[in-house]
Structure formats: structure tokens, C-alpha cells
């Protein structure tokens, strides 16, 4: 018999349970259809009145007029709704940090400057209360990234509906993260300086020189690592060399956290000298070197479009416009949201702002779906609603990138229809009961 699920999220009237009772969804078996939807594929295309055929967690067919068998299949009628690929948060400490001011809940930053062997994945806590709040806005995957003062460790991509990190792992240890020295003189302020008062003072040490020396040290490390991997047997095992092996065979990418032009130009060394695939993370000034990034195949993760401009003289909207500049130059880029107060849930709206300032809406969507997947090396599995990929799908009542219309009603990870309950909805429910309020609109 044909089972029809009418997706009205308000039907998820969950009693005041703790989030602890939200179970990861079971593996999807057999056929599943999503029909009558406006499908935003993620690659720029939009299919009106489209249907998605999913089998055993994978997308088998996508199109406007797909036949649906009168079989024992699940069919979700999404009439009037918008369907998107599951959004990907490209840099995040999700699951590593629970409450940022409480030290005991911070597992994102290890001691030391050279930690290529440190793995973010093993600290990823699938029971973090933050995770479900992201799913509620359409984020279904995240790149979990270690922080640090220089070489911080490796990141892994996780899907956000899992019992534990091993189940969550989507792509393991595929990024080595380097936080670039600032290469800028440090500030020196008198107290209470008014505008224009008190001249700047020369720095004590040359930060450019100091930073470059540090980077030279890293390059030596890579040279030795390369030599190490060229030998057939080692006198002893070097865990740090072992950890970066993938960089030399493109199994891993080098994520360079940097913003300024100088930092970026220095980062090109890793492309030129070692042939690494480099991803620039931060990239607030990347619009100034967009063509060079394109030439060197460096991709960019714009960490936080919702930022103030770098300098007072800058275009007031520059951070909003940077994405469009990269798009124009043909640079592969993704948008992230690392706001410490909202923890990534505003990812679609950061993309929406980029759409308001020069990207098309579908380009903005790609920046948080397919482009991110490409950068993370998971585009064969996710990032768009295309045949052969995992059925990572988000359904929204309206435009997902605009908070005015975004209302995620359903989401699927690997075809599994996930429970969109989160801590916030539960607390809302609890207090709506206390005050006997009726929601006019569902979660």
C-alpha cells in the first residue's frame, strides 16, 4: 500500500521531552519519493514541480515528471515547498565546544604549535545540544575543525544524525589546518585615545619577519615529511609526518586560516612548492587576490560574511560583497558561519546576504552546499540533489536563505528522515504549555 506522509511539521508535537530522547533515524531501505517540490539542485539548477526518487539512502532519479510506483513506497508530497541539498557548515567547532566560556567543555585547541597529528573527529560529541539547532535550519553536515596557534590538526566532515563520532564520520581527517601568523605589526594603544590623537608607535619586533620564519619552519617540516614518505622503511615512526601523508597524494587538503593579502600570497607557496591543494579559510581580503587564487586553484571558505569591514575606509558592505567578487573571478568558494553566539545556525542567512549583494540565489546556495562539498572532497557523495549522491535533503516552506521565509519542515540524511526536534523547540513547547499559548505557526 502506498503510504503518504503529509509533511506538516506542526504534527511533531513532542511532549516536553529532553533532547536526549531524540533518536538518530534508522537506515533507509527501499524506495522513497519526494514530490511536487521546487527543487534547488545545488548546482545552479532549479526544477519546478520536481520529484526525487531515493533508494537505500541514495538519490536514484531527479526530475520533473518521474513516475511513482503504486507500490509499498514512502511518498512525501511537498507541494508549495522548496527542497534543497543538505547544507554543509564548512568550518566549525561543532561538537568540540559546548559552552565557550566553560573550559571543561572546550575540546578544540590542543597545546603546542605543531599538532598535525591531532584529530578533531575523536572529540566530536554527537550529543552536543548545538547540533540539532543547526539541523532545524537545514545544516546537515559540518566540517569539524581544530583550532590552534599554528598547525592545529586535522578536520573531518560529519553528518549530523549519529549515535557517535564513528557513525557520524563522513570524510575522515581530510583537512590539515594551519593558522597563519598575522604578518602584521601589533597594535599599541594608549588608554582612552580619542580619534586621531596620539600617534602610532613602531613595533618592537618585525612581525612579518617573525611570521615568515615560522612559516619557513613549516615548510622544512613538509620537506622532511615528503622525504620520510619517499623512504620505504623508517628508523622510527614519526606520527606528525604520518599525519600529513595525504597532503602529498591529494588525499588531504591544506586549510590555511588567513585573511590578509600577504598571508594569502605566502600561502601560495604550499601550492607552488609542494603541490598541495590549498583552501583559504577566513579570506576577508580574498577579493583583492581573486584572480591569483583562481590561477593557483586555491579555494576559499569565507568564514563570516556577517562581519564589519576590515578598515574604516572600506565599503561598508564589503564583507557582504566579497562572495560575489570571488564568484566573478571563478574562484571555488564556500560560505561559513562561525559566529560564537549562534554557533552556525545562521549559515543560510550569511549566504542570503551574499545573494542580496551580488550572488544569484542559486550561487549563494551552492556556496553552502555543492561548493562546500567540492572543497571538502565529498562532492561525490553530497552537496547537490543529483543522481548517485546520498539523499541529504532539506525541505523548507519558503526561501531557505531568507529568515523571513525559511521554515525547515523536513530533513533527510542518507535518506533517513531525521527528527527535527531540538532543545529550543522543546523548551518552547514546555513554556507554551506553561502559559497555555497556542502557536500560530509550527516549528
Amino acid at each position: 500500500m502506498r503510504k503518504i506522509f503529509i509533511a506538516i511539521s506542526a504534527l511533531f508535537m513532542i511532549a516536553a521531552n529532553a533532547q536526549e530522547t531524540v533518536l538518530p533515524a534508522k537506515e533507509q531501505k527501499g524506495l522513497l519519493f519526494i514530490k511536487n517540490a521546487t527543487i534547488h539542485v545545488g548546482n545552479g539548477k532549479v526544477i519546478e514541480n520536481g520529484t526525487i526518487k531515493i533508494k537505500d539512502g541514495k538519490i536514484e532519479e531527479v526530475g520533473a515528471n518521474l513516475p511513482i510506483p503504486m507500490d509499498d513506497v514512502k511518498v512525501f508530497d511537498m507541494k508549495g515547498k522548496h527542497v534543497y541539498p543538505g547544507l554543509i557548515l564548512p568550518t566549525s567547532t561543532l561538537g568540540l565546544v559546548e559552552i565557550s566560556s566553560v573550559r571543561a567543555t572546550q575540546d578544540s585547541r590542543e597545546i603546542g604549535d605543531m599538532n598535525p597529528n591531532v584529530r578533531a573527529l575523536v572529540a566530536y560529541n554527537t550529543d552536543s545540544k548545538v547540533i540539532n539547532t543547526l539541523r532545524s535550519n537545514g545544516v546537515l553536515l559540518a566540517n569539524v575543525v581544530p583550532q590552534g596557534s599554528f598547525v592545529a590538526g586535522s578536520s573531518s566532515v560529519v553528518q549530523l544524525d549519529a549515535w557517535n563520532w564513528e557513525d557520524a564520520a563522513y570524510k575522515t581527517d581530510a583537512g590539515i589546518h594551519v593558522y597563519m601568523p598575522s604578518l602584521m605589526p601589533r597594535p599599541s594603544f594608549g588608554r582612552f585615545g580619542g580619534g586621531g590623537g596620539g600617534g602610532p608607535q613602531a613595533p618592537q619586533v618585525d612581525p612579518v619577519k617573525e611570521g615568515l620564519e615560522k612559516i619557513e619552519g613549516l615548510k622544512s617540516f613538509f620537506k622532511e615529511a615528503k622525504a620520510y614518505h619517499a623512504e620505504t622503511a623508517h628508523e622510527e615512526t614519526n606520527l606528525k609526518f604520518e599525519a600529513v601523508k595525504g597532503l602529498f597524494n591529494k588525499g588531504q587538503k591544506l586549510y590555511v586560516h588567513a585573511n590578509t593579502v600577504k598571508q594569502t600570497l605566502v600561502a601560495l607557496d604550499f601550492v607552488k612548492e609542494f603541490g598541495f591543494e590549498v583552501v583559504l579559510v577566513g579570506g576577508s581580503e580574498s577579493y583583492q587576490v581573486a584572480d591569483l587564487l583562481k590561477q593557483n586553484n586555491v579555494s576559499v571558505i569565507l568564514q563570516q560574511p556577517h562581519s564589519l569591514p576590515t578598515g574604516q575606509d572600506d565599503d561598508v558592505d564589503q564583507p557582504y560583497k566579497t562572495a560575489a567578487a570571488l564568484q566573478k573571478a571563478g574562484v571555488l568558494f564556500a560560505i561559513s558561519d562561525d559566529d560564537p553566539q549562534t554557533r552556525g545556525r545562521n549559515l543560510p542567512f550569511n549566504a542570503g546576504t551574499a545573494a542580496a549583494y551580488g550572488l544569484s540565489k542559486e550561487e549563494a546556495l551552492a556556496a553552502i552546499s555543492l561548493n562546500a562539498a567540492k572543497i571538502m572532497g565529498v562532492a561525490d557523495k553530497t552537496g547537490s540533489i543529483e543522481v548517485g549522491k546520498d539523499a541529504n535533503i532539506v525541505v523548507s516552506e519558503g526561501d531557505l536563505l531568507d529568515m523571513r521565509t525559511s521554515n525547515v519542515t523536513d530533513a533527510f540524511i542518507q535518506g533517513r528522515k531525521i527528527d527535527l526536534t531540538d532543545k529550543h523547540k522543546l523548551l518552547n513547547e514546555k513554556y507554551e504549555q506553561k502559559y497555555e499559548l497556542k502557536t500560530k505557526k509550527g516549528f
Binding site: G193, G194, G195, G197, G199, V316, F349, Y431, K440
Partner: protein
């Protein structure tokens, strides 16, 4: 009468070590040698003061004082005549902002301010019967600390100074200054006026006490100290002896000098003075030209330093990238600061203070003159104005009989490029600055006598270090003359050697680098002489020189030289340079600021055919017009016309009231006064900063009104200020006038300092939410007692007045600014906005309020408001919250984005605020989230950033909706105002368009052009050989709530990271 027993003879430097002045009370070690320093300076051009010059005049000096000045004076018998033909005599300069002879202040105690890893120091570290605050050093007396220091006096004398006002530059109140001369004599004789001034500043100096930790805290401390000092006059028994207040009172009649050092700080200082009837003399900074009208408005006399920003090396575009236009413009214009004062007719003195070295004085003074400062004004600013300002014009500041013998002798008009100061006489004592190089110049006949006979040469002496020597051929020669001793060496010229270039032919830039003041001619460009050169050494006996030497073979010789013809004095041919071309002064002095020709003006504006969100019962109106007239909303309706109005087509667009941010920390010089747990005496209004670029950035996001809050460092924080974003206005004009004030309270983790890393833990009460409640109860208990004391006093006073009895015996209670603000709360004249998170503390705060008889007007942040919304409603509070923040600290663990909607549905008036300079420009989007999370209507959501904050700020009669008669604060949006795709096209405040998206693009282009011009100018300086410093990224300080992280970019430094408190 004092006797000057020893005076330097002409031509010799004073050698103090040999003979010291004897004073009547000091025993003499040897034989008395009484002298009177009696001199007559004849044939001189005497500039008595800036306006009076007499030629061919005589001045008589005796016993350190001027006896007579005039032309045709008879030289008194007993006076030594000094012929000053061709010389100019000027009064020596006065520097009113020195610390000459004062020991360097030493830091004592620990304290958090200088070392963030130390615990705050809550009490003063000063021992003794002094006041409570370590930074009030009103008891300091410069004359008691003063010791003559010839090493420091010498460069000042050489720059032309004879007198300085010196004081210890330490503390907010710094005690008295002393006028001293720069004579290297016994202190007893050098101190001219022991208590000449009282000094204040906005710097804690060596104080290690935590309070005050902010600009507004310093202002509050000064205000309170004025009140306390007044109260102390009646010797209140409860206070005992307070040496700080006693000294404060004793020094109030002196000239009051305030080191403010910045254009806005100057105004802040002046307002303190205005409140207490004090006209400060203001020690300025470099940037007053940016607000010269406001400077004039202070009616103050200013003390102007002459230091300027250095040119930066901006050759590398990637370095130049981070140097702001503001810094480059300031570099260009700072040398015009003094000229701007002159042009505005503001009285001022000049000082050597703030210079990296006194040696820069002349170079920088000349630069100021090049930028338009007149000679007369310089003369005045260095002599008469300081003398009059300090009330010592009877002693110094001009050349008149009876005044001190402090004068300069120069070889020409003082401000001519090539003039040098030859001597600086201080208290009738000669100090040679520079030998008169011109006097040696001339043609000499040199005769050298050796075993091999006589040889004759001609010496063409250019100055004290340059000579051309020839017999038949020009010789390679080297020469030096120090006023007495002559050295000459010479050898035949080799073929490769060319004629020596002498310093007179060197470019100015080279000549002037040797220290910067007149007479420092460079040398050292001579060709090297061979070791076999003939060397002569001798002594000048006037126009004839005699000496001995060694010839090229090592044989001894003797020599004489006689003046054949003195060089003719050359007239100074340096032309007056044109004032350099400078960029425009813009308001504010920031990118996107406007110059006077572009000033945004109030205009009548008609927006036609838009979707209009009225926030009134009419709701959202389609195809509707909005008319703004005379700064107010004049009409909302269809088919409006107004002949005088600028018409804007609103088709397809949306009009809303301007956005109001209930919780902002922009546009202030300081935000947190965390030095104590109760600081209701501090006021944001005292330290507004109209130069904050975020004013403009927020206008671009449709914000028109911002509530600038004190931070959350303490339970009872400071008084807040509501401003309108009038970009370019001064600090006072930013204020939204006519609103009842508010005050910031805070609860929870921040006031407990839970997230501070203080070694040994927090030592400031409270450390728990239990303690927070007690702080509140205690503060209001004290406030009530205070209220009662005044009530009783006022009743008693009225009674006496009614009975026509004297009120003299009735002592007023001490005015306490902290408690006064709390009494205002009790009297419903001031409203609370209370930073709060968790339900227990919210409940607690309301219970204290109920008990004490006040209402918590607004709970701000209030992320657990949804848990106690019914209680808040009952208490009568408003709620101002974030849309979707959480999990950045423990107390926001239960924060939910449905909070605003729940509170609204329970019946509270709810606002969405930013607390963040970035998010403030997207508040319409933040409001939209309340539709998404919790499903309030779009109109209700928009009100959360417009009308509702107006209501909680008690200004909904003025702003917050499009109602006829309200302020013309309007935004025209490109799209549905809650949509992520909406942009403000026009942001209008009081009918003035302060943000215009099209004009913004134009401004951006102008900024780029102006940057380019200035980068090229700096590069030009560098290439012309001027010294530069490495490019300095223009970091900006951002003040925040100290509550959470921000995304503010590469160049922004959180104020908390640089100031611990």
C-alpha cells in the same frame, strides 16, 4: 636683596662647579665676591613684546633684572657695555607645560590596571591622611620636589626658553605647579612662583587602584571630588583630616590647568569646569583643528604641543592597505593645528611638551609657521600669553624695566630661516647658545713662519667651521673656531679633489637635521686631509689670531692671521613659503565624513507610492506617500503633494520608521567602569565619541537611534545615553534631548566575574548571585537614607527661611553622585535597563525592586525571560533581547530563539537589540527571526526594532512609528523590510538624509582618490629624504559589553583586551 656674586664673563660658558652664588644665610667658603651683573646692551634691535620693536636701543640689566629699556639711554656708570650692533633682543620664551626638575613619578602597589594578571586593587595604596582615591594627588607640590637640573635646562635654554611652569605629571589631580627659571642656580633663587597653578588630567598615572578604570569614571571622580571638597570646607567630623581635599580647596584660586590632549577630551574637561565654575586652561593634543568651532566654544586658553604624526612608509600597497585615511589625513593636517587656533581667534600658549625631544622644537615650530601660524602669534604664544595666563606678566613675558633679565640675543630677526640664537640670558645670567659664526666670517691674511721662512695665505672664512684657503692655488683645508680657539689644517689639493662644498650651500633638509633649531649647521662634508697636512692651533685675540703648529715635515712653526675685511652681513633671502595644499576637514574626521559644502541638511521629503509600515493602527498601507516636513512626519496618505519637497519614488519599495537599538555600545570613549560594584555616578553622556565609523555603518542598516549602555562589569553600572545617529554632529548634538535618563544594571556571571581569569580568583564583591542581591539591597538602602537626609535638611532649611532665620548653622548633607542617581530611580526620574539572563536572578531583581519601591523598567538580554514572562508582566517590565544567541556562556545555556515570541504572547512589550556593532546594521533581519521562531506577525516583529524600543526608552511620543508629528526618522527599503534581501536606500534622521546608498558609492570613490593622494604624498616625503616609520595598521578600539565574542575584523581590538577594568 639677593646678590648675584658671580656672573659669567662675556664669551665664556658658565661654569657652575667653580663658584656658587652665595646667599645671605649661606656661609661663604672663601672670600666674598659681590657683583651685580650690571650690563648695558647697546645698539640693538629690541623686541620688547610681539607688538613693540625699538631699533638702535639699549637695555640695562642689573641684579638679574631689567633696569631700563629704550633708545637713547645713557649707559649707567658701573655697567659693562655689550655692543649688540646688528643683533636682536627678545624676551626669553615661557613653557607652561613642563616637568623640568621634577622626579619621574614612581609606581607603587600592585593592582590590575597595569598588569591584567593581578587582582584588582580596590583601595588606595597611598599611606597617610589622604583621600580615598590614589589618583587624586591634589596635595602634590612641584616646588617642594623641584631640583635644578642643568642637563634638562640646557636644551630648553638653547631652544629659547627662560622660564617654565613645572609640575608632576602624575594622577588625575596633580597638585600645584611652580614657575621656575632655567638658570642653573640654587633652587632658592630659581623658583619664581612656588604655587602658580593647579593641574588635572584624564590619566591615572601611577595609581594602581582599580577605580576609575574608564574615561567616564575619571570624569565622575573629578565631579565628586569637587563636591566633596566643597562639603569638606565645613570640616565634617565624620571625615577627619583629609589632606587631599584640604589641598584641593587651597589650590582652587590658582590657574587651573587640565591636560586633556584630544579634541573631545578637551570638551569633556571644559564641561567639568563649567559645572563647578572653573575655566580650565586646556593642554591640547594634535587634533583640535578637526573641531575648531567647539574648541572656541570652551572659552579656554589652550596649551598646544608641537608634535606631529610621523610620515609612514606606505610604499608597499599591502602595508598601505591597513593605514586608514583618517591617520593619513591627520598626518597631513596636524601641523596646521596651531594655525587653526590662530585663525579662530582662540588664545593659546605653545609648549615643548610631548615632543620626542626638545631639539625638535624649532623644526616643528617652523613647520607650524609654514602651515600658517604667524610670527606675531608665535611670539605671543611663547611670551605674553603664558605670562598673563599664569599671572606672572609682571615678572616675565616682555622686556620692561622691573622684569627678570630673561632675554635672547639673536643675530637677526628671530624667525628668519638662518637666524641663530646666540645667547639666552636667564635672570641676568648669560648662557651662550651658539657662537656668532657670522662674526668670524671675513677675509684673513695668514702668515706662517717656520724654519724655511714665511709663507702667506689668504683665508676666506665662511663661518665657524668652513674656510677656503689659498695661496696661488686653493688648498685642501679644514677649519674650526669655537669662539676662542682656532684650528686650521691644510695640504695641497690632489687632482681628484674638487672644491669643498660648504654648509652654506647645503640643502635645508640637511642643515636642519642636526637637532632642528637655529645655528646647528652641519659639517663633515670636507675631503679627508692627508696625514702629512700642516696643522695650526691658535687663539683669537679679536681681529688677530696667533698660534703655533707643525708643518708637513713635522717641523714647529708659528703663525698669525689678521682680519683684512669682515664679511658683509647677508640679508636673509629665504622667501616665505606658501602654506602647503591640504585636504579638506570633514565631519566627522573619518571616511564618509562630509566637508562643509556637502553637509547633509534637513529638507522636506516626499516618498511616493510605497508600502508604508506605520506601526500605528492603520497597519501596513499599500501605494502610500509619506511626507516629512521641518524634520517631522507631516503626513501619511495617498496622493500627497508638497511643492518644497524633494520627491523620492517609493514604487515597489517599503517605508518604515527608523530602527532603534535598545542595547548598543558604539560612539563612546569608554563603556565599562568596573572599578567598583556600584558606579551609578558614571555617565556615558560624559564620553560620547561622534567619530565612531559604526555610526555611519549602522545608518546603512536603517538605524536612526541607539541607546548607548554602560557595560555589564558591575551590578549597578553607569547612566546610559540615547543618541540619534546624526553623522558628523558633535558629541552634544548626538544626544536625543528631552528623554528621561536610564541606567544600566547587570546580574549574573559578568558582575561575579565568573569568566575572568584572575589569579587567586575574584576579590571584588559580589562573587555569587546571592551577593548580587545584597549589593542591590544595600545600594537602595543607602539611597533611601540619603534621600531622607536631604528631605530633612530641605524641610529644616525651608522652616528657617520661613521663620526668616539664618540657615548658616544648618549643614547640608554631602552630595553623593552615586546615591543621587539611585534616588532618581526611586523618584521615577531615571529608568533601569538591567542586563540579565537566568530566571533566578530575574526574579531576585524584581523582588528587590518591589521591596525598595522601584520598577525594573527593562530587562535587557533577558534570555530566560520566557521562563518568568508572567512575573515580568506583573512587575511592569519591558524586555529587550537577542533573537537567537545562546551557548556562549553557562548562563545562556537555556536561551532559546522563541524567547521573544513567548514574552510577546504573554503580553510583554519586547524589543530585539544588537549589543554588537555589526549585528546592529541587520536588526531588521533579527526581527524577522521572531516571525520564524515563534510566529509573531510581521508587523509585531518590525515593532520589536522600532516602536517597542521607543516605548521602553520612553520616547515613543517622538520616534518609533510613522505618525504625524513624530520625528522624521524614516527608512526607505529596497524590499520587504524583514527580508534578507532588503537594503536601506535612504536613512533619514530628523528629515535629514544621513545615508543615501547612491551617494555612498560616490563617497567610496572619493575615499579611494583621497587615499591615493595621501599615499603618494607620504611616498613623496620618503623619497625626498624625510624620515619615515614603518606603516602602522590603523587598529580601532571597539567597546563592548564584555559579554560575548564579536566578528569585527582584522583591525578591531576589543577594548577589554587592552584595559583590564
Amino acid at each position: 636683596m639677593r646678590k648675584l656674586k658671580r656672573l659669567a664673563g662675556a664669551g665664556l660658558l658658565l661654569l657652575l662647579a667653580n663658584v656658587s652664588i652665595s646667599q645671605p644665610t649661606f656661609p661663604e667658603n672663601g672670600v666674598a665676591d659681590p657683583r651685580h651683573g650690571h650690563f648695558a646692551f647697546t645698539n640693538a634691535t629690541i623686541v620688547k613684546d610681539a607688538g613693540t620693536t625699538i631699533t638702535n636701543a639699549t637695555m640695562v640689566v642689573k641684579d638679574g633684572k631689567i633696569v631700563a629699556v629704550g633708545s637713547g639711554l645713557k649707559i649707567p656708570a658701573g655697567a659693562v657695555e655689550v655692543d649688540c650692533k646688528g643683533k636682536y633682543i627678545y624676551p626669553s620664551f615661557i613653557d607652561v607645560y613642563a616637568d623640568y626638575g621634577i622626579p619621574q613619578p614612581q609606581r607603587t602597589g600592585g593592582g590590575g590596571q597595569f598588569n591584567p594578571s593581578q587582582q584588582p586593587q580596590l583601595e588606595t595604596a597611598t599611606k597617610g591622611a589622604y583621600g580615598w582615591n590614589q589618583a587624586i594627588k591634589s596635595d602634590a607640590e612641584a616646588y617642594r620636589m623641584f631640583a635644578v637640573d642643568d642637563a634638562k635646562a640646557k636644551p630648553l635654554r638653547e631652544a629659547g626658553f627662560g622660564t617654565v611652569l613645572t609640575h608632576i605629571k602624575d594622577g588625575i589631580a596633580r597638585g600645584t605647579g611652580a614657575v621656575v627659571s632655567l638658570a642653573s642656580e640654587k633652587e632658592n633663587l630659581v623658583i619664581i612662583k612656588e604655587r602658580a597653578s593647579a593641574h588635572y588630567s584624564f590619566s591615572k598615572g601611577t595609581s594602581t587602584q582599580s577605580y576609575p578604570g574608564s574615561m567616564m569614571g575619571m570624569i565622575a571622580l573629578l565631579r565628586q571630588t569637587y563636591l566633596d571638597a566643597q562639603w569638606y570646607k565645613n570640616k565634617p567630623a565624620a571625615e577627619g583630616l583629609n589632606l587631599s581635599l584640604k589641598a584641593w580647596n587651597e589650590t582652587q584660586d590658582l590657574p587651573q590647568i587640565f591636560e586633556a590632549g584630544d579634541k573631545w577630551n578637551n570638551l569633556r574637561a571644559d564641561r567639568i569646569g563649567d559645572e563647578f565654575g572653573v575655566q580650565y586652561i586646556i593642554k591640547a593634543g594634535q587634533n583640535e583643528y578637526q573641531r575648531i568651532k567647539e574648541m572656541k566654544g570652551t572659552n579656554a586658553t589652550f596649551i598646544l604641543p608641537l608634535n606631529y604624526p610621523q610620515a609612514q612608509d606606505v610604499e608597499d600597497p599591502n602595508d598601505a592597505r591597513f593605514v586608514s585615511l583618517q591617520d593619513m589625513k591627520h598626518w597631513e593636517m596636524a601641523p596646521a593645528n596651531a594655525a587653526a587656533f590662530e585663525k579662530a581667534g582662540i588664545p593659546f600658549c605653545l609648549t615643548t611638551a610631548d615632543l620626542r625631544s626638545v631639539n625638535q622644537f624649532w623644526a616643528n615650530l617652523r613647520k607650524a609657521m609654514e602651515y600658517g601660524l604667524s610670527e606675531n602669534k608665535v611670539m605671543e604664544a611663547l611670551t605674553k600669553t603664558p605670562a598673563i595666563t599664569l599671572g606672572i606678566y609682571d615678572k616675565v613675558g616682555s622686556l620692561e624695566a622691573g622684569k627678570l633679565g630673561n632675554f635672547l640675543i639673536a643675530n637677526g630677526p628671530l624667525f628668519n630661516e638662518k637666524t641663530i640664537i646666540l645667547q639666552n640670558w636667564v635672570q641676568g645670567i648669560k648662557y651662550t647658545v651658539k657662537e656668532d659664526a657670522a662674526s668670524v666670517a671675513g677675509t684673513y691674511s695668514l702668515t706662517v713662519t717656520s724654519l724655511s721662512g714665511k709663507e702667506t695665505y689668504t683665508l676666506d672664512v665662511k663661518n665657524a667651521s668652513a674656510v677656503t684657503m689659498f695661496a696661488k692655488d686653493t688648498l685642501n683645508s679644514k677649519f674650526s673656531f669655537d669662539g676662542k680657539l682656532v684650528k686650521i689644517s691644510y695640504a695641497p689639493m690632489t687632482r681628484r679633489q674638487r672644491p669643498v662644498m660648504n654648509p652654506g650651500q647645503m640643502p635645508d633638509s640637511v642643515r636642519r637635521t642636526g637637532g632642528g633649531f637655529p645655528g646647528r649647521g652641519g659639517s663633515g662634508m670636507e675631503q679627508a686631509l692627508p696625514v702629512t697636512a700642516t696643522r695650526l692651533s691658535g687663539v683669537s685675540n679679536g681681529t688677530e689670531w696667533n698660534g703655533t703648529g707643525t708643518d708637513s715635515l713635522g717641523n714647529p712653526l708659528t703663525w698669525t692671521a689678521s682680519l683684512v675685511k669682515a664679511a658683509e652681513a647677508k640679508t636673509d633671502s629665504v622667501k616665505k613659503k606658501d602654506v602647503p595644499a591640504l585636504g579638506k576637514i570633514v565631519y566627522p574626521f573619518e571616511p564618509f565624513g562630509w566637508d562643509e559644502s556637502q553637509q547633509p541638511k534637513q529638507e522636506n521629503i516626499l516618498i511616493r507610492n510605497a508600502t508604508v509600515w506605520t506601526n500605528e493602527k492603520e497597519g501596513v498601507l499599500q501605494n502610500t506617500d509619506v511626507l516629512i516636513k521641518n524634520g517631522k512626519i507631516a503626513a501619511v496618505g495617498k496622493n500627497l503633494t508638497e511643492a518644497t519637497a524633494r520627491v523620492i519614488d517609493g514604487t515597489g519599495k517599503h517605508v518604515t520608521a527608523g530602527i532603534i537599538d535598545e542595547h548598543s555600545h558604539i560612539a563612546a570613549a569608554s563603556i565599562n567602569e568596573g572599578g567598583q560594584s556600584v558606579t551609578s555616578e558614571v555617565r556615558i553622556a560624559d564620553n560620547l565619541n561622534p567619530d565612531d565609523i559604526n555610526i555611519y555603518r549602522q545608518l546603512s542598516g536603517g538605524v536612526t537611534t541607539s541607546h548607548i549602555l554602560h557595560g555589564s562589569a558591575n551590578v549597578i553600572g553607569g547612566q546610559t545615553q540615547l543618541i540619534k545617529l546624526r553623522w558628523g554632529a558633535n558629541d552634544d548634538d548626538l544626544k536625543l534631548k528631552g528623554w528621561p535618563g536610564q541606567i544600566k544594571f547587570a546580574l549574573g556571571e559578568n558582575v561575579k566575574r565568573s569568566n575572568f581569569s584572575i589569579p587567586g580568583g575574584n576579590n571584588r564583591y559580589p562573587d555569587t548571585r546571592m551577593g548580587v542581591e545584597q549589593v542591590l539591597i544595600d545600594a537602595f538602602t543607602r539611597a533611601k537614607d540619603y534621600q531622607q537626609d536631604w528631605k530633612e535638611y530641605n524641610t529644616a532649611k525651608e522652616k528657617l527661611i520661613k521663620e526668616k532665620k539664618s540657615t548658616a548653622s544648618l549643614l547640608a548633607p554631602r552630595r553623593d553622585l552615586e546615591l543621587e542617581a539611585l534616588v532618581e530611580i526611586l523618584e521615577k526620574k531615571r529608568f533601569i535597563t538591567c542586563h540579565s539572563y537566568v530566571q533566578s536572578e530575574i526574579n531576585g531583581a524584581m523582588e528587590v525592586a518591589n521591596k525598595m519601591g522601584y520598577t525594573v523598567n527593562t530587562f535587557t538580554h533577558i534570555l530566560e525571560g520566557y521562563k518568568v514572562a508572567d512575573k515580568m508582566k506583573k512587575h511592569g517590565s519591558f524586555a529587550s533581547t537577542f533573537s537567537d544567541w545562546w551557548a556562549y556562556k553557562m548562563e545562556v545555556e537555556d536561551a532559546i530563539p522563541y524567547n521573544a515570541a513567548i514574552m510577546q504572547k504573554v503580553g510583554l512589550t519586547v524589543a530585539i537589540n544588537s549589543d554588537d556593532a555589526e549585528m546592529a546594521r541587520r536588526l531588521n533581519h533579527e526581527a524577522a527571526k521572531i516571525v520564524k521562531y515563534g510566529g509573531v506577525t510581521e508587523e509585531e516583529a518590525l515593532k520589536m526594532v522600532t516602536l517597542n524600543p521607543a516605548i521602553m526608552l520612553h520616547v515613543d511620543d517622538k520616534v518609533g512609528s510613522l505618525k504625524v508629528g513624530k520625528d522624521g526618522d524614516v527608512v526607505l527599503w529596497s524590499d520587504h523590510p524583514l527580508s534578507i534581501y532588503a537594503k536601506s536606500l535612504y536613512t533619514i534622521v530628523d528629515g535629514t538624509i544621513y545615508f543615501d546608498r547612491q551617494k555612498d558609492e560616490q563617497l567610496q570613490k572619493e575615499i579611494d582618490m583621497e587615499r591615493l593622494r595621501l599615499v603618494r604624498k607620504m611616498n613623496g616625503e620618503k623619497r625626498s629624504g624625510a624620515p619615515t616609520i614603518p606603516a602602522q595598521p590603523s587598529y580601532q578600539i571597539m567597546h563592548t559589553c564584555s559579554d560575548h565574542g564579536h566578528s569585527h575584523g582584522l583591525l578591531v581590538i576589543d577594548a577589554d583586551d587592552i584595559t583590564n577594568e
